[in-house]
Symmetry: C2
């Protein structure tokens, strides 16, 4: 991450750390503090700050809305971890493991409310717009999570349905985050639509890149073992593309997935990916969304120096090796 | 419930029934519709409507805020039912029984967002105040629920702590509900404080009456079997008053609670209640809070005919036999 993005991240970190929560009941507020202190790229609140700067206002004007987005995002992580029975997040125990499920459930609820409290630290004439964008986005994130859970029991899902699911589950929040900053900076309706489009396309490129790296990443740069998604039997963009290309012949891929010897399963699925050039298809798809994102950005009437930073961000997210 | 209150309830029911939710994903939105269709006294949204009328505006002006309160309340029921592993609500399966825990968790999350969406269907200059009251109240409800869960593992709790817990868990929302209506009707800060005070005291009287009826109600009017709380070993205002009165001698009550034969347990606890006149103490406490509530009401500068209706409501809630 370049020094500019890192500066924003550090400021967000400082503000998150100085949020003043009551001390009691400890089982409600300590998990919230814990969760907010776990760190991360803070990409969503960074987008809120940049969304403000893009339209000529100091990014600090949108700090409260940036915090709202990050607190909301962390609420979704706490509840998703319950739903997925995940035990570890950022190398530390998840809230429901460190405390218990009921405490995680309730402190997640509290975080939504605290997110709204930060959102509304703004001028009266901006509240309606901020609320509309935030609530619409929040509900879409819930929809995405529900589709994700629904699809977990399906043998396969069409690519358009998969893309719509990841759009709702992750990309819309990037767009919503950026819109909140833009609203603080009095952006026009057209500009709001453009930043949403820009960030959603970037988000889709980012997610497909995630799937891509898991199978085609460089072992040394990637950090984790290659093929984790195949090991877990997870349906990713790559799997669903392969299903689509195989058409009536898709039993071959189901058979490969049903091999119980894990390393043989990885080899069999990878062989099908290679045969169908799923790697090339994924690269094209990532390029399609990142190009769309950069083209949308180029058309936005905003601060040119901020636009170059956003363009660098897209390249950073797409060219990454882990 | 008298015909005026019933008229408001019917209107709220109609509006709840016509909330336009998306049809997909069905596992997100169907549980929400189900929950909102289960009925109930709708006492909280009624208070929102009356809170508006009390200050001279038509109650329909506050319908969206009334819906926000009821949707929020139903979210708390969905999540509380998960936390309590409750299987039945209003004689029907709870959401996590009818669907599953993950679906209940997520649709509860969605309900908070939908509640905020309704809250903000108001004029710009009222949004900040509405948001402040709503979020403060929502967080206090979470605090009350956390204290309730914390106290479940305690042998006993002091009466002040118990009262603070039920104030947070239930009474503040009655006050918050009423304040939202009052804000829509441009009530002053002083009037907002007064309605909060009025409704919280009424709420405390209501909750202690709940505990009272469970042990001292008339079997025929009460509907449920008398002594249910004692059977379940639940700590209520009555138990905690008895602990307080027994002082160093409180092992006697713990012994009574530890009797495994359920009907003997009920007899033993009731014998201690009778010996200490816990019934009389509870009646005094209920009267204390309802008097406080009525005194506060009398001092509010508001529509006199609405004040009489609120006074009738207090009497209805306190004199009820079930």
């Amino acid at each position: 991450m370049d020094s500019y993005l890192n500066k924003l991240r550090v400021e967000i970190e400082e503000h998150l750390g100085s949020i003043d929560l009551p001390s009691d009941p400890a089982n409600l507020y300590e998990p919230i503090e814990y969760m907010l202190s776990l760190g991360g790229k803070r990409i969503r609140p960074i987008l809120t700050l940049i969304g403000c700067e893009l339209f000529g206002k100091p990014y600090s004007n949108a700090m409260d809305q940036a915090l709202a987005v990050e607190i909301f995002h962390n609420f979704t992580l706490v509840h998703d971890d319950i739903m997925d029975s995940a035990e570890v997040r950022r190398n530390l125990p998840t809230v429901h493991k460190k405390w218990d499920v009921n405490i995680a459930l309730l402190s997640g609820d509290g975080m939504i409310v605290i997110a709204y409290q930060h959102l509304f630290k703004a001028q009266n004439d901006k509240l309606k717009k901020l609320a509309d964008v935030f609530s619409k986005t929040a509900l879409e994130v819930c929809e995405g999570q529900q589709y994700d859970m629904d699809y977990a029991s399906y043998e396969t899902v069409s690519l358009p349905n998969y893309l719509e699911m990841i759009r709702l589950k992750t990309a819309v929040l990037l767009g919503g985050a950026m819109q909140l900053g833009a609203i603080v900076a009095d952006a026009s309706e057209k500009q709001l639509e453009q930043v949403q489009h820009f960030a959603e396309s970037m988000g889709l490129a980012f997610q497909i890149k995630d799937d891509y790296l898991d199978s085609f990443g460089d072992q040394d740069s990637f950090g984790k073992e290659i093929g984790g998604d195949i090991r877990e039997g997870k349906r990713t963009w790559l799997t669903l593309k392969a299903f689509e290309l195989l058409g009536d012949d898709n039993q071959r891929l189901l058979d490969a997935y049903s091999i119980t010897d894990i390393s043989k399963r990885v080899d069999a699925v990878m062989a099908i990916y290679n045969e169908l050039d799923v790697k090339g298809c994924a690269e094209k798809e990532i390029a399609k969304y990142s190009d769309d994102s950069l083209k949308t950005l180029a058309n936005i009437e905003g601060e040119e120096n901020v636009k170059s930073k956003l363009s660098a961000l897209v390249h950073y997210l797409i060219d990454r090796e882990n």
